[in-house]
């Protein structure tokens, strides 16, 4: 599962992209966005600070913006970003 971060999320984390492999997914059953966020937040304080304020976290699954918890699968591309500030 490919995870992308943009704007100050990427700056804070020091990365724009990461792959979470199938082992993580089957062990932790990361089959929904909420579970993925919980999995990431369990890593460290930086992730927790990013996901702390829900209204400031936007998400796209396979390039479509989604609201609330959504089912996800290992082939999905998940992007997390702050509210879009446009062109």
């Amino acid at each position: 599962m490919k995870i992308l971060y943009f704007a100050w999320f990427a700056e804070k984390l020091g990365t724009r992209e990461e792959d979470i492999d199938a082992c993580d997914i089957s062990d932790k059953r990361l089959d929904s966005l909420d579970k993925l966020v919980a999995f990431l937040c369990a890593r460290n304080e930086v992730y927790r600070s990013i996901f702390a304020q829900k209204s400031l976290v936007k998400c796209a699954v396979n390039k479509r913006v989604v609201e609330g918890d959504t089912p996800i699968s290992p082939d999905d591309e998940i992007a997390f970003f702050p509210p879009i500030t446009g062109g």
Binding site: F6, A7, G86, G87
Partner: protein
């Protein structure tokens, strides 16, 4: 030809506009209007306090989710083409580091008449301000930099088009109903 383009280095708005117009000369009988908007990076900060004018911007940095941004810009063009009678429409957007004075965005459309061209151009420009996944960071001459928040005025403008659309749909529904009633009346008589 793609209807949306992302540029990671400087592009000339005039040249882009010339190429766009030339490539759509297929219907000189019909096309009578070209409307365009060109956005330029300016030195004034978006949320500037007037007293802090000394700290002007050197550049804007536009972070972007390219695949999704292209999709979003193409959606905007497609919507404009279904709402107004356009012969062609395009959006060119800069990403990455944009020095003050350079073009950030170019929106253009060709139509038979000016009203469709103006309205569609304004619609696409308003949508570009809120929908594609782009994030702006201001880089000041002093070295200070800050990510911008979403602009409430831009959000309001974009939402107003949604209301216009609902009003238009409501008007169309009313007209259809009136037509149906007239047809029924004719049928009875």
């Amino acid at each position: 030809m793609r209807t949306a383009v992302l540029h990671d280095s400087a592009f000339c708005a005039y040249e882009t506009l010339r190429l766009f117009t030339n490539s759509h000369k297929h219907d000189p009988y019909n096309t009578g209007a070209l409307a365009s908007f060109c956005g330029i990076a300016r030195a004034q900060k978006q949320q500037e306090q007037q007293e802090a004018k000394s700290d002007i911007l050197q550049s804007l940095h536009l972070d972007c989710y390219p695949a999704m941004a292209l999709q979003s810009l193409e959606d905007i063009v497609r919507e404009a083409r279904t709402r107004w009678r356009l012969d062609a429409a395009t959006i060119h957007h800069r990403i990455g580091e944009v020095p003050v004075g350079e073009t950030i965005v170019l929106v253009a459309c060709l139509s038979a008449r000016r009203n469709d061209a103006f309205d569609a151009c304004r619609y696409m420009t308003d949508m570009v301000k809120v929908r594609p996944p782009l994030w702006k960071r201001e880089q000041a001459v002093s070295g200070a930099c800050a990510w911008l928040d979403a602009n409430a005025d831009d959000t309001r403008r974009a939402a107003a088009w949604q209301e216009t659309r609902q009003e238009m749909q409501e008007e169309m529904r009313q007209e259809e109903m009136q037509e149906e009633m007239q047809q029924e009346t004719r049928h009875i008589s």
